[in-house]
């Protein structure tokens, strides 16, 4: 048993001639908060999509809790291009749909908020519990699952209290202010009972105060739900504050990884992404 929750091995994602993610390998250990940073278009979200099963990688594998969940090798035209590169390393094709990966215990949020618009805050979270129901459609229709339904509703109430949305639970999800919608997305992901939470730019569009609140919130939920967190973020204050380790992507390639202190000093990262403070 290794200690890592998630391991990505030589993942490559190619769309036609564009290599969005190029030979990405990374590891996330239990209980860590790990950040993935890089300039726009570096392939961060694509990497998330490969991990969560939205895209099938061109080559490589993803391991979750020591179980191989995704694997693919170059096929057809791609074979020629990849001649010599990890040839023969990946033989199988495992391509589960995202819902199967979620059921294994990985939940995500989206860069551009994707709440269910016509549903209330409460229902948004409750629907995410659907993947944990054991009743079939008949017993659910004829209310043979009262106990399970009641338990789920209670869990949702509790979750909403923890994330501080219980006062708006009967409002439409889209009527919430932006920061709360982000929070609701995280609550919804938590309702799916994950062990690994993937946050795609959770602080996008937030002001400094909201970002600070979010930083505290992420730390809080990690403790409470015993989570491992993998996040993409551009707010460097947030990233440097809460991350245990950081991976840096540029043009699909991993250019650095290490602790926040190491990354801040890394010349390649400074050149590619962080830059030098103007007033320094």
């Amino acid at each position: 048993m290794s200690n890592n929750v998630l391991r990505v091995d030589h993942a490559t994602m190619q769309f036609g001639g564009v290599v969005a993610v190029d030979d990405l390998s990374l590891e996330i250990n239990k209980g860590e908060i790990v950040a993935l940073i890089g300039p726009n278009g570096a392939g961060k979200t694509t990497a998330f999509n490969v991990i969560t099963g939205v895209y099938q990688p061109t080559n490589g594998a993803v391991w979750f809790n020591d179980e191989k969940i995704v694997e693919n090798h170059p096929q057809g035209k791609m074979k020629k291009q990849y001649k010599g590169q990890c040839e023969g390393m990946y033989k199988e094709t495992i391509a589960p749909t995202p819902d199967k990966i979620t059921k294994l215990g990985m939940a995500r949020t989206f860069q551009n908020i994707r709440l269910w618009k016509s549903q209330t805050v409460f229902d948004n979270v409750l629907i995410a519990k659907h993947c944990r129901t054991t009743s079939n459609v008949f017993s659910a229709t004829f209310r043979g699952n009262r106990k399970e339904e009641a338990r789920q509703r209670e869990e949702v109430e509790e979750l909403l209290k923890i994330v501080g949305l219980d006062d708006v639970k009967n409002e439409l999800a889209t009527s919430l202010p932006y920061g709360k919608q982000r929070r609701l997305e995280i609550a919804r992901a938590l309702a799916a009972e994950p062990t690994l939470l993937l946050l795609d730019e959770p602080a996008a569009g937030m002001n400094p105060q909201e970002t600070e609140e979010l930083t505290a919130f992420i730390g809080e939920i990690r403790e409470k739900f015993n989570l491992t967190i993998f996040l993409i973020e551009h707010h460097m204050n947030l990233v440097m504050d809460i991350s245990d380790r950081i991976y840096v992507l540029d043009f699909g390639k991993l250019i650095a990884h290490g602790t926040p202190a190491e990354i801040q000093k890394n010349q390649r990262v400074i050149d590619a992404y962080l830059g030098v403070a103007e007033d320094a």
Binding site: F110, L115, W116, S118, I127, H130, C131, T141
Partner: protein
């Protein structure tokens, strides 16, 4: 909060009881061929099918136009299984009495007594029709549900047309009677049985929509990507919605056969699906109550109130030169356009019967401000 819930339940129950009582009273006073009875029968059948379509188009967000095909299956299953054995010779006169030599109502009448057995047999035939439609939906759902929006609509529409042609095929004559009519099967004369059957089935659909699976359907409608990321198996749930919706459309088809007295494949054309779609849109996409109200309005006005427009006298005005054949549909089109223009979300939007007691949002806000 609690009180409001209670009031709503009482209100809903009162409305439903009033409808049923009114229906029974009409049955007792009017002869079964009266236009009011006919209208109630037809409207309840349409209401059931419209609600089944709403489950798919309005609640799951799958734009399917195969409803007529599934109704056809239900109708034929009902007819084929219920024609009395003695009458088969004359019905299947071109096919040597057909290939099937039993009749469900008669089989059940054998050990349940005449009246009860006959009714049970008829209901069983309806159920078989629904199951057959559901099975067919399962089979075509495998390839077809990979398609999205308009493409799904085209594929399902095509399926319904193929099915219609298939049922008229001469080689299938011993079962479907080819392009000839199926008739002489038993049916309910009064309106109450139709209202009861449709009412129970619509209630089941309502229960489904408010269950965890119904919520998953709505999540798929609102945002497929998010639904899948939250662990909802898209293929499985879409197929489930498709199969369940088709089941109810199949039963609706069987009831349509009951009410019309004869079955042929020709009436189950795409225009029937459009009529149902129209009802769903007028009633409000995503509202069960809306679909039911709209189907009654639609049937009452097209079959009864506006009849005069076709036959010379309307509202006491006698003008045979204007009010002649076809004018009814012209007026009807205008009414539909007005509805679509001024009630964008349909009569009910996405509200249901108990929501009618809710205060309008504006008023509620004013009160909160005080």
């Amino acid at each position: 909060m609690r009180d409001m819930k209670k009031t709503k339940m009482v209100f809903t129950a009162a409305v439903l009881v009033a409808i049923l009582a009114g229906c029974i009273a009409l049955d007792a006073t009017l002869p079964s061929y009266h236009i009011a009875i006919t209208v109630i029968k037809k409207a309840t059948v349409y209401a059931l099918v419209a609600v089944s379509m709403n489950l798919l188009n309005g609640f799951t967000g799958l734009f399917s136009l195969g409803q007529a095909g599934f109704m056809l299956l239900g109708a034929y299953a009902y007819g084929v299984l219920t024609i009395p054995v003695a009458k088969r010779e004359s019905v299947y006169q071109y096919f040597d009495g057909g290939a099937i030599h039993f009749s469900l109502p008669e089989i059940f009448a054998g050990f349940l007594g005449d009246t009860v057995g006959k009714t049970v047999g008829m209901l069983a035939a309806l159920l078989v029709g629904g199951l057959l439609a559901a099975l067919m939906a399962y089979l075509i759902g495998l390839p077809v549900l990979r398609l999205k929006s308009d493409y799904l609509a085209i594929a399902t529409l095509g399926f319904a047309e193929i099915l219609k042609a298939f049922f008229q095929w001469n080689k299938l004559g011993p079962i479907t009677n080819g392009s000839n009519l199926l008739k002489s099967y038993p049916y309910f004369e009064h309106a109450t049985p139709y209202v009861l059957i449709a009412g129970v089935l619509i209630a089941v659909i309502l229960l489904l929509i408010n269950s965890t699976y119904g919520r998953a359907f709505k999540a798929i409608r609102d945002d497929e990507v998010a639904a899948e990321a939250m662990g909802i198996n898209l293929a499985k749930h879409k197929r489930m919605a498709f199969v369940i919706s088709s089941f109810f459309a199949g039963v609706g088809g069987g009831m349509m056969a009951m009410y019309s007295g004869t079955i042929a494949a020709a009436p189950f054309k795409s225009a029937l699906t459009y009529e149902i779609l129209l009802i769903v849109v007028i009633g409000g996409i995503g509202s069960i109550t809306g679909s039911v109200i709209a189907s009654f309005l639609y049937i009452v006005s097209s079959e009864w109130l506006l009849r005069g427009l076709d036959s010379g006298t309307f509202l006491g005005i006698n003008a045979p030169s204007i009010f002649k054949n076809g004018f009814r549909m012209a007026v009807f089109s205008v009414i539909i356009m007005v509805i679509v223009l001024f009630f964008r979300k349909g009569i009910m939007g996405d509200r249901e019967l108990p929501d009618l007691l809710d205060k309008r949002p504006k008023k509620a806000k004013k009160e909160a401000a005080k």
